[in-house]
């Protein structure tokens, strides 16, 4: 291919595809290079939630910004993207978690995110299949779910309408000053390169600190109205971000297909994608504790995936600290679907040289060079 692209994006997952959609709209000549199939990596294995999170200011800012971008884009998304604003209910199981509900509500309220406290009765009304004697919960009504595979395809379709090129089944093996080299030896010339290869972005940059966090998910047959909101236990944050131990948390999601998607688990240092029965069982048991009626539902599939996690749980978005022509859009851990649109926006701003709507410095890969990233 003799032509020189303005930008080569490595990876046609949801992140790379969102970047392609956004940058091509600005008039850049974009090529997306995917080693396997569209959205075939971490994107395909996730839950497809669009949630506003609050465990750090930086995480809140990116998820909140992205969620608004999704809301806007949803107007033109085709039905097969299954975008649905089902809301999230953070479920509180005991009195201890009551304080957490308060804290969460205050946090969101101060930042203009709509929430609603549910008492025991209104929680049961909202979700009759939850067990009795739960204390209540916090409803975040604007959270949504999406079928991330079709959304990725939709992003790519838009990119291609803007003239972007898509290459699938082509593995990039080296990033060069003037482009990228493919496994078959071909050179694709590009002025700027975006590494959006998720966990695999590390293969092209040895010094990138990304680890795999393995997760399991289960999906059921169709059960209309079994669950209406995304449900997450309040203990989720505690367990999800303890960075060493394997953990499970109650997290179920209604799909537009009427299937129930059940998560979640987190494991470190596991490279093997086979199903780990012990952790899958723990995860399902946790779900059954909160929703005993799940017992009689049939599971059609169980699968695993790897979240690309960074040491500080924030993605890398922006220019590489050492390589001038290289940008990063990776390390989104379990929030890549939500934050794909915000990521694309911030990166586009940086490439064009304008300020972003949110403070984007916190996501800059330049924090690579900080001390804590140096230690193993």
């Amino acid at each position: 291919m003799l032509m020189t692209f303005d930008i080569a994006i490595i990876g046609a997952g949801i992140i790379g595809s969102a970047c392609a959609m956004r940058l091509s709209k600005e008039g850049f000549k974009v090529v997306v290079i995917e080693a396997n199939e569209i959205a075939g990596g971490t994107t395909s294995t996730g839950m497809g939630h669009i949630v506003v999170m609050d465990d750090s200011e930086a995480q809140f800012a990116l998820t909140n910004y992205s969620q608004k971008l999704w809301e806007k884009l949803a107007e033109e998304m085709p039905r097969d993207c299954e975008y649905e604003t089902c809301g999230t209910i953070w479920v509180e199981a005991d009195d201890e978690e009551m304080a957490e509900v308060r804290r969460k509500k205050d946090f969101y309220e101060k930042r203009n995110v709509k929430t609603e406290i549910l008492d025991e009765k209104s929680l049961r009304e909202a979700e009759p299949n939850l067990r009795e004697n739960l204390i209540g919960g916090l409803l975040v009504p604007n959270d949504s779910v999406v079928y991330q595979l079709c959304a990725t395809q939709f992003f790519l379709d838009k990119a291609m309408q803007n003239g972007a090129k898509l290459l699938t089944g082509k593995r990039v093996v080296e990033i060069l000053e003037n482009g990228v080299r493919l496994e078959n030896g071909d050179l694709i010339k590009a002025n700027k390169i975006i590494n959006a290869a998720g966990f695999w972005s590390k293969d092209l940059m040895q010094d990138l600190r990304i680890v795999k966090r393995k997760g399991h998910l289960v999906i059921t047959e169709r059960y209309p109205n079994f669950v209406k909101h995304q449900l997450v236990e309040l203990g989720y944050l505690k367990s999800a971000h303890s960075n060493d131990a394997d953990s499970v948390a109650f997290n179920v999601q209604p799909r537009m297909t009427e299937q129930v998607l059940i998560g979640s688990s987190r494991q470190f240092g596991v490279d093997d994608k086979t199903i780990d029965y012990e952790i899958a069982k723990r995860m399902i048991k946790r779900a059954l504790e909160y929703m005993p009626k799940l017992r009689k539902l049939s599971a059609t599939r169980v699968w695993t995936g790897f979240r690309p996690a960074t040491p500080d749980n924030l993605p890398y978005i922006g220019q590489h600290p050492k390589l001038e022509n290289v940008y990063l859009a990776t390390g989104h851990e379990g929030l890549g679907i939500t934050t794909s649109l915000g990521t694309a926006e911030i990166l586009t701003d940086e490439i064009i040289g304008r300020d972003s709507e949110i403070d984007s410095k916190v996501y800059s890969p330049s924090r690579f060079e900080k001390k804590e990233f140096a230690r193993e």
Partner: protein, 81 residues
Amino acid sequence: MKKIKLQINNESVSIQEGSTVATAIFESDAKTFRKSVSGENRFPLCGMGICFECRVTIDGVKHQRSCQILVREGMKIETDG
């Protein structure tokens, strides 16, 4: 041979012991076994538990393969129409 009494969509049906639930549904007034995702009526295809077209609700449990389950006295069966 012994007859088994059961209910299909609240209609009483009496059928020979040893029949499958699928047979009982064929003999009932049910118009279909299940409705497909896009709303088509579907009947069994493979007859041996592979294709999942014959799924119905039995005693409140959804997605049961009617071709693989024998009738039992008092069973309550619901089809999608």
